[in-house]
């Protein structure tokens, strides 16, 4: 085994192994640097164009025909309300669906069909959900055109499957020994899930939720379909009043010919990014809190 020639072989091999190691590291570093560069450039141009216009007036005013008076508050409030509706609908439904499918559903053709459907739903282009919102929600509630409630319901349709899928994965990752422990001490299946499985799966569920919500926040196409593209000069008063949302506002401003709107557009993008970061921050905070409980 340890003859000199044996050792020599290992040594001869060593150089190429180290080289492969270095190549991989270089490749990895290059990839990271490239994405950081692109992101940096994007951020730089947006901040350069947008920061000058990002003042209190911009944050508190709503849309106007005069770019100097146009502000983001209406769209920001609209986005917050829309997201609240999306979260309130998609999170509980998604989590319960995930729990049911993973822990309780019998394994038969029907549940298999539901599984496949949900997986496909997550891959459906968002504009299709817009069509659905238009055909179903707006047909049922024609007076709520452009309302955060309808927008939130439409976005909930596309966020729910994401939460179901990530929720199921998070639930699946909880070790079976924990379920055994709970059941063996006499916990009912529902107690086992709510006392033990869900708390352990929650960090993963929250991560999936935030990914789904972030996608929904940036979504424009389905909201255009349900009419959230009108000029709305006042912030929405309630969930059923007409409203704009951040990405649509950005889309509309970027289409304006007036030069003054270029700055507005960039400033609005900054607000959208800040909203996104705040949402992510909240999710990370919640996740850490739940992880630290044990």
């Amino acid at each position: 085994m340890n003859s000199p020639s044996h050792q020599q072989r290992i040594v001869a091999h060593l150089a190429s192994r180290h080289a492969a190691e270095r190549r991989f590291r270089a490749l990895g570093f290059f990839s990271v640097a490239l994405s950081a560069l692109v992101l940096g450039f994007l951020l730089f141009t947006i901040l350069r164009d947008g920061l000058p216009g990002l003042d209190w007036g911009f944050l508190t005013a709503s849309d106007a025909t005069d770019p100097a008076k146009a502000g983001i508050w209406g769209a920001l409030k609209g986005s917050m309300m829309t997201m609240a509706v999306t979260l309130a609908l998609a999170f509980p439904v998604g989590v319960f669906a995930a729990v049911y499918l993973e822990e309780f559903a019998p394994k038969n053709r029907w549940t298999e069909l539901i599984e496949v459907s949900i997986n496909n739903l997550a891959a459906v282009p968002s504009i299709i959900f817009g069509l659905l919102g238009l055909a179903v929600f707006l047909a049922l509630f024609p007076n709520w055109r452009s309302a955060p409630l309808i927008g939130g319901m439409t976005l909930a349709l596309m966020t729910m499957p994401v939460i179901v899928i990530s929720g199921r994965n998070a639930i699946k990752a909880v070790p079976p020994s924990i379920r055994d422990a709970a059941l063996a001490i006499g916990a009912s299946p529902v107690q086992t899930v709510f006392h033990h499985v869900l708390p352990l799966a929650l960090p993963g569920i929250l991560t999936g939720t935030i990914i789904g919500m972030a996608r929904a926040l940036g979504e424009t196409a389905p909201l255009l379909m349900i009419g959230m593209k009108a000029f709305v000069a006042t912030p929405p008063e309630g969930f059923t009043s007409p409203s704009s949302v951040l990405p649509v506002q950005i889309f509309l401003w970027s289409d304006e010919i007036d030069r003054g709107f270029v700055e507005r557009t960039s400033a609005a993008i900054i607000v959208l990014l800040a909203f996104l970061l705040a949402m992510n921050g909240l999710a990370i905070y919640l996740r850490n809190r739940f992880e630290n409980r044990w």
Binding site: G186, Q191, H195, W294
Partner: protein, 261 residues
């Protein structure tokens, strides 16, 4: 096999009659009958895959949680069949506790681990009572002195042996009649193993204890009754001392002398 009644003129806590357990079409336990009494620690030994765990899990109906698993025959706890529809599994598992092969404390505090059972079964009406149950259970499990100053630490932060004793404390906390242990020491070092064995001897008499073990020495040390399983059947059941010194069956002798397994 021997009629256990002749062996032990005591009322059995658990009485299994013609029990067969299936996984799908596969028969893992084949027409097994046995009586288990409070007074003794009963050991199940036999080569791996012979169905010891399967049989053990049929005493607290943990086989119900495995899809495709099916139990035939009857198992009576205090004379009442646990496989009738009138038996509530939740209640059954409060009466028949279980300790698993790999220590599996909840990823919660030490206190919570022990308090969980009494809490869900509504066994203590206030915090002081619960505190008392937790302390008593940890004391019985021989863990109190080691953890009394850090009850709010995570149960998973303990050593393997301590975790297993925590699991025993968790099972004791609901004051069961029977404690099932499935190779409770197989993941532990010799010192931790010795502590668990000592603990089992102390618990003897307070609970009917059934322990699956792959270690013949362990069976000899902790048990008074031993059942030797082979291919889903009980080959021999009797006093531990007799099984190990003077087995009646050739297959038992082969196994305990290390000819196979």
């Amino acid at each position: 096999m021997t009629n256990p009644h002749e062996l032990d003129p005591v009322t059995p806590r658990l009485a299994a009659r013609d029990v067969s357990v299936f996984y799908g079409d596969k028969r893992a336990i084949d027409n097994v009958s046995i009586d288990i009494a409070d007074e003794y620690v009963t050991a199940f030994i036999g080569p791996s895959g012979c169905g010891k765990s399967t049989f053990l899990r049929s005493f607290n109906r943990m086989n119900d949680t495995i899809s495709g698993a099916r139990v035939e025959g009857s198992i009576a706890l205090d004379g009442k069949d646990i496989y009738t529809s009138g038996m509530d599994v939740v209640q059954l598992r409060a009466r028949v506790g279980m300790v698993f092969q790999k220590p599996n404390p909840f990823p919660k505090t030490i206190y919570e681990n022990v308090a969980y059972g009494p809490r869900i079964h509504g066994l203590s009406s206030n915090k002081a009572e619960l505190d008392e149950v937790v302390e008593r259970s940890l004391q019985r499990a021989g863990l109190w002195d080691e953890v009394k100053d850090r009850l709010s630490d995570s149960g998973t932060a303990l050593s393997g042996g301590q975790q297993q004793r925590l699991c025993i404390a968790r099972a004791i906390a609901v004051d069961p009649e029977v404690i099932l242990m499935d190779e409770p020491c197989s993941a532990l070092d010799p010192i931790a193993t010795a502590k668990i064995e000592e603990l089992i001897s102390e618990l003897r008499g307070k609970y009917a204890i059934v322990i699956v073990t792959h270690s013949m020495q362990q069976a000899a040390r902790v048990s008074q009754r031993t059942a030797f399983f082979h291919l889903g059947k009980i080959v021999e059941y009797g006093k531990t001392s007799e099984i190990f010194t003077n087995p009646r069956e050739e297959r038992t002798k082969d196994y305990i002398t290390g000819r196979y397994g």
